[in-house]
Amino acid sequence: MQISIENLSHAYGSVEVLNDINLTFEPGEIAVIIGPSGCGKSTLLRLIGGLEEPSKGAAYIAGQAPEGSLNPLTYIFQDFALLPWRSVAGNISLVLEDHKLSKQQSKAIIDDVLARTNLSEFHDALPRQLSGGMKQRVAIARALAVRPAFLLMDEPLSALDSQTRELLMDDLVALWAREAFSACYVTHNLAEAVRLGHKVIVLSRRPGKVRDVVEISIPLEERRERAVELEEVQQQLWQMMREEALAADRELADV
């Protein structure tokens, strides 16, 4: 299954947020979108997953979703979006309940994704009892439970402290190594971009346009050791981002 965006533009009223975006996401690849704040990264993600309708152009799905995928386009949110009144298992079962699954099937899926995210012992815990990192792990487990074909990750690590962020990046790399998933990962953090992205899409300030696409060929599992090479890529990205960020920062907010 391949996702592509063609001639996509979007405006909120008279404010143009995205301008003529053309992108293709290959299966089994993590594409990271970076850009200065307010450039429409998160909007772009909502448009790809059908949570908002673009003013012009469209996002397309080519080919069939893999067999058994309950929700091909699945989000992971910055604020976790866990129901506080449901336990960890309850939050995962929530997204399975609308699909006609037997009790045993649901239970098997829940146990499997909890095991994959090392959460088995937190089966009955409530979200308020969990740290931020654990909450995001639950959200990742919930996303895995519907067997997504394409993950849409909206700054998933931005609400976490830097140590937790490191741990979760390792977790994501391990998950990807186990089963290469396709994802679009939005962030403003360049370190995350170079650790997780097979390609990094740089957006300009508002109205967001694709400024450049940087491919990173170092395999994900080797990136921790090859920090020096990554640092170079990160510097290159920063040079591109710097003027955009500077200009975006000096804009008056009157939206």
């Binding site: 949110f77 979006a81 129901l83 506080p84 009144w85 449901r86 929530l94 609308d98």
Partner: protein, 266 residues
């Protein structure tokens, strides 16, 4: 090189502004007040005409209990209260949900609700008597209307305040509309609905007494009204005390419900 410098401990200036509940203070204050009252009545500081002694009120309660009318009054009042409040609350939640979920309902029903909410339902009692009869109908209707509007407002406010992110999450996982309402919006609005229930229950008790003051043979309100018109102040105190205890019981029950339904808030 270094001569001893005069040093002081950094003065503590934090703390405070955090009242904690202290156990047994409330019953103690209550008991002290009653004792003071009894003492005042016995010594003549408080004239019996102004306020009957607690012991006299208690005697009046025993008389009421022995006459067998106590349960009759209480059960009649409870029936009206429970009947009127539960129907009013159920309808209120339903209409509140409609207002919270549908633009058409919001545009049509919300202005109506805002217009009817401030009308004292007691003022409508004569109309209710004409519409629903002098018997139980008008009394239940008064309580029903009185609890309906605050519940509507609490419910739609609760629905409005459900985190948009959670709803978007439900949509992104392809949950059906009904599932989103049942599993995300309703539980999310529940805290607001329950605090609305607290308010509507107090309103219901106030309206109960008002409704029972017209054309009622039994009921706590009727008992208080009769005591008042006979200037039997000891019976009046008994009636008022029963109302107060009723209010405490209702608020205790809602507290229990909050604990059971909202334990996820910790």
């Amino acid at each position: 090189m270094s001569e001893p410098v005069n040093r002081n401990k950094v003065p503590f200036r934090g703390g405070g502004f955090k009242p904690r509940p202290i156990r047994f203070v409330a019953p103690f204050v209550f008991l002290a007040l009653v004792l003071f009252w009894e003492f005042g009545s016995r010594t003549g500081i408080i004239s019996n005409l102004v306020l009957p002694a607690p012991s006299e009120a208690f005697q009046a309660f025993l008389d009421l209990y022995n006459s067998g009318l106590f349960w009759k009054h209480v059960s009649t009042s409870l029936y009206r209260l429970v009947f009127g409040w539960s129907i009013g609350t159920a309808l209120g939640i339903l209409v509140g949900l409609l207002i919270g979920l549908f633009s058409l309902a919001r545009s049509s029903l919300l202005p109506l609700t805002s217009a009817f909410f401030p009308i004292p339902k007691i003022a409508l009692l004569p109309l209710f008597i004409i519409w629903f009869g002098i018997g139980e109908g008008s009394k239940v209707a008064t309580i029903l209307f009185g609890t309906f509007f605050p519940t509507v407002i609490a419910t739609y406010g609760g629905v409005d305040n459900v985190e948009r992110g959670l709803i978007r999450m439900g949509q992104s996982f392809g949950m059906s509309w009904l599932s989103i309402v049942r599993k995300i919006i309703l539980p999310g609005a529940l805290p607001a609905i329950l605090s609305g229930a607290r308010i509507s229950a107090s309103i219901a008790i106030i309206l109960l007494v008002a409704a029972e003051m017209i054309g009622a043979e039994y009921g706590i309100g009727a008992y208080v009204l009769m005591a008042g018109s006979l200037f039997a102040t000891d019976q009046l105190i008994v009636g008022v005390a029963m109302l107060s205890i009723l209010g405490l019981c209702v608020s205790w029950l809602i507290g229990k419900a909050e604990k059971a339904l909202l334990n996820w808030r910790g």
